[in-house]
Structures are given as C-alpha cells and as structure tokens.
Amino acid sequence: MNFSETLKLAISSITAHKLRSFLTLLGMIIGMTAFMLILSLLLGFNGYVNEKVAGIGSNAFTVQRFNFDDFKDSDTIAAAQRRNKELSFDELDFIKRGAQMIEHIGARSGGVGRSIRVGNNSIQNVRISGVEPVIATIDKIEIEQGRFFSDTENNTAARVAFVGADIAKNLFPQGGALGSELKISGIPYRIIGIQVAKGTVFGQPQDNFIQLPIKTFGANFGGLRWNRAPNFAVTAKEGVKMEDAVDEVRTLLRIKRKLGPDEKDNFGIITPDAISGMIGSMTAVFSIVLLLVPGIALVVGAIVIMNIMLVAVTERTKEIGIRKSLGARQADILRQFLFESGLLSAIGGFIGLFIAYTAGYIITLYVFPTSIPWYAAVLAIGVSGGVGILAGLFPAWKAAALDPIEALRAD
C-alpha cells in the first residue's frame, strides 16, 4: 500500500467524523497557538532588543571604565572601582595613533539630567552629554534640520547644541527651534541641529537629549570626571572583523596602561554581541518557563489524540479484520493509523500556526513587534505531525497486532 493510498485513507477517516476530529484537535490547536504566539513574542522581543538596545548590525563597540563582569556583586564593584581608572583623552590619542583596524574612534561623556525651560515651556529629565563630532558618524545620526557641530566648534568649546526632536517640539511649539537659544544652568547655547524623531524604546523616550561638543560640556559641567568621564565609541574598518578591532584596541590600551601579561584589564570593552548575550542570558530562563506551559498543552493534546486513536482502533476492529483478510500486512495497518494520527495532529498544528500568525500580525500592528520565522512554522507542523505519530504509535501497534480471526468476529 503506497503513500498516496495511505494518505487518502487517512483523509477519509478524518473527514468521516468531522466534529470528533475537530474536538480531538482542539487541544493541539490551543497548544500550538499558545506555543507559537509566545515564541513569536519572544523572538519579536529579542529582535527588538537587538535592534534598539544592543545596536546589532551597527559595527560600533564601546571602551569604558567598567566591564559587565564588574557588576556581578558589591565586592566586584568595589574592586573595579579601586582598580579601573577613568579613560582619558591621552589614551584616546594613543589608540587613534596606534590602531590599524579601526575606522573611527570618538569620545562621549557620561551625561547629566536637567530640566530645561524656555519661556512658559519646560521639559523634564533631559539628558545632557558631550560628544566629539565624529560620534555623529559612528552613531549614524539622522539629522532632521540643521547640522551636527564641527571639530572647530568642539576645539573652541563653542556654545552650540544638537538636540532631540522632543526638545525642539516641546520647548518651541510654534517652531523656529533651529537657531534659537536655550539656557542650561544659566549658560545659553544655540541650537544648530535637530535629530530625526526616534520614538521610544521600552517606554523610554529617545528624543529628549541635548548633545554639546565634549569640550564645551567639560568646561561648563565641572570637568569630564566621575559620572561625566568619557568613554570611547569605536568602529572597525570595512572588512575587519569586530573582534580583531576589539583585540587591537584592548592591546593598545593595555600597553598604554602598562598592564603586565598576568594582569586583568582595568577597563571594559562592550560589543553589541555582549549586550545581547547578557540580555539573552537574562531572558533565557524566562523564555523556557514561558514555552513550557504551552509545551504542556501540546503534551495534553497528544494524549487526547492517543485516546481518540485507541477509540478508533476499537471501533474499527472489524474493518481491520476485513483489511487483513484481504491481504493487508501488519505494516499496512500500522501505517494507516500512524498516518491518520500524524495527519490529524499536523492539521491541528497548522490551524494553531495560522491562528498564532494572525494574532501575531494584529499584535505587531497595534502593540509590539512579533515574528514567526519560516523555520519555526515548518518546525511547528513537523513537531505537531511528529507528536501525532508518537501518540498514534501505541494505538496503531495495537491495531496491527490484532488477530484477523478475532477482528473479523467483532461487531
């Protein structure tokens, strides 16, 4: 008995009891819907994190005072605070001169928060930081209006500001932000550029910042020390792997800091991979638990299928006897029932996938990005079919092992 005959038989058995087949599948459908929906949310979340937070796809990495590992507990934080020194412009120049594999390197200060007021309009919690002009290139800043500041403006500590879209919109609701002045701690700055609006990431607005030339910032905010100390943003040259560029920068900084071969780095280098890796390790347990629940629903769905297949075998004992008397081998009967349970379950998986896909589409439209990659869809159908075959194994074996004489005697 060949594949297409077995398939036809399975389809006719399933369609012969439509309501029962549907009810049998309900568990599978619900399980698969929940599983795929949660999976799509998790994958969407990861994609979102990678894109927005970790900056995956950008080839920039950051050299800073502390490493991720330093934040393990209070002891390591204290040790790192004693050991790790703030980065300096000397070190920036040393790296810039010595490095072969990097395209750009620029300093970016830590920030301070301030409330800003212009006339009757004010905006809270504005993040103010100083950056070198090259940061605009490294960050691939998109400019809505005006320009970023120049090297000359940085070197002369000019009082110019590049601002986020919310600053322009909230402080100058009538427009005309570009070229206007705004005062921070009593010192006036001229707005020379406005960034394209970025929206929010996890509810955090991305558009209420003011960037000043780093020299200006250092001069007017009490020096580039403590939480205002600089870190370096670095991009690798085209064709150079990021880890090679990272190694080069690390080596140069270790030379500059005269670290012996046995000494640990007293600075940190953070790559986008490291960020997403850290977030990934935090969300992994969470993901497993979230997927476990619909996983249990799938198991329950499989048990329902096994149960109904056992009923089907009992119901069709006579049919099995007839088929055996006409020359069906054990393998034919086994395949018939395995196909039926596999197909039944795969249909459930497909319906679940379809519902999850539709729900995911709606969620993406209104709430949150989700994604079901093609391999997950193929896997879903495969897994549900496989689960069905597994669930059908025992009933099918029972059917195949029936004694033809006994089976023919059944009603």
């Binding site: 008995m1 006579k318 049919e319 008397s325 006409l326 020359g327 081998r329 393998a331 023919l408």
Partner: protein, 240 residues
Amino acid sequence: MANSHTGTAMVKEDSLILMKNIWKTYQMGVEELHALRDVSFHVEKGDYLAIIGPSGSGKSTLMNLIGCLDSPTKGTYLINGHLVSEMTDDELARIRNKEIGFVFQTFNLLSRATALHNVELPLIYAGIRAGERHERAKAALDAVELGDRTLHRPNELSGGQRQRVAIARALINNPSILLADEPTGALDSKTSVEIMALFEKLHADGNTIIVVTHEHEVAERAHRIITIRDGQIENDERIK
C-alpha cells in the same frame, strides 16, 4: 509429523490444496482442546467442494486454516505449492491477498466505502495502480451484474447485491480458491438460490470453490462433500 507421511500416500504433490496431518490445538487453562485432529486431504484445481459439519465440529477452524487466517499447531499445509504452515504473518497476508478470495456470511464490506472501492481493496494491497484498479473493479462488478451500482455504499444495496459485491471482491485478484463461509446464511431463500447459481457459474468458468456450511441444500450444490465431526474428517465423498 515426519513419520505419518505414509498414511497420506495417495495425496498428489501438485494439488492446489494439500493438508497433511493437520492438528489445531487450543490451550484452555490446563486442558488442551483439539479443534482439529490429524486432518489430511487435498483439493485439485477446478473442484467445487463443500465442507459440512455441525457447530463445534471444527469446520470454522478448518476454514480459517484453509484461508490462511491462522496457522496449524502441527502438520503441513501447501497451497498452490506454497508451504503455508511455516509462514510468518506478513507472508500469510500475501497469500490471502494473492491466493484466497473470501466470501463471508455477513459480507464484511467496508460500510463507508463504495462498492467499487470495496472491490478494489485487494488490489490496493497488491500494489496495483489506481487506473488499472478502477478498470478491473468495474469489470468485476459488471461480471456480477452490478455495473450500475459501483458508487453505491453497502447500506444502499440489498443483501444479495452486497454478497455479489463481496464475490466480485473475492475474485478481483484471480485467486486460486474462492473460499465461502456460510455464503447464504444471511440471505432469504430466493436470494440464496441466486447466489448459489452464481457459484455454479463461477465453477463452470474454472474457479476452484470451497464452501463451508451447515446447510445440506447448499452443500449438495457442490461436487464433493467433506463432513467434519469432532475435529476429524468423518466422510469425504464425490457426489458429481
């Protein structure tokens, strides 16, 4: 088994069916129940044989063995040269498919399938392609005068029509034997006569027929009658 061959010296080795010293024993708790005791006979190609006996005589057991639904406890059974008594379940399935055409008292048609599909079943298990299957099944239904009922389901057919579908199914794979178990048991007397007439026609066409029955009127249509009693052949006579 080996020392009893002398008792069956008259058996011809090229017989269609050859049973030598067949025993079938069931274990009922500690007691052994011998359903068949040392049964030997042979059937030539083209014969029309009735096996008759009261219920509990062992005739159903014998029919199951002839039909390769079961294997003997002891003894040798050859059908068309195949040594059936030594076969595995799958080999027996193959013999049932190729060599045996069953006709049952209760027809044993698949109720969900059309007459055509029912007749096709043995060809499906023989691995015949769909196109050829349809043609052969249609021809077989034509031969039993049901050419206009191919797409009817069993519950849309009369008892006699159902039995004719079953006969068409039994003959579809050109088996060596048509094996009928109480073929008229579920039919009224008029339809029974029709079915028995069909059997005679099939015999005249060269088919080998074995009918298992407890009705003398049915048995007397055959050319040879074997009477079973207490698991043994009581009488074996040729009447035509």
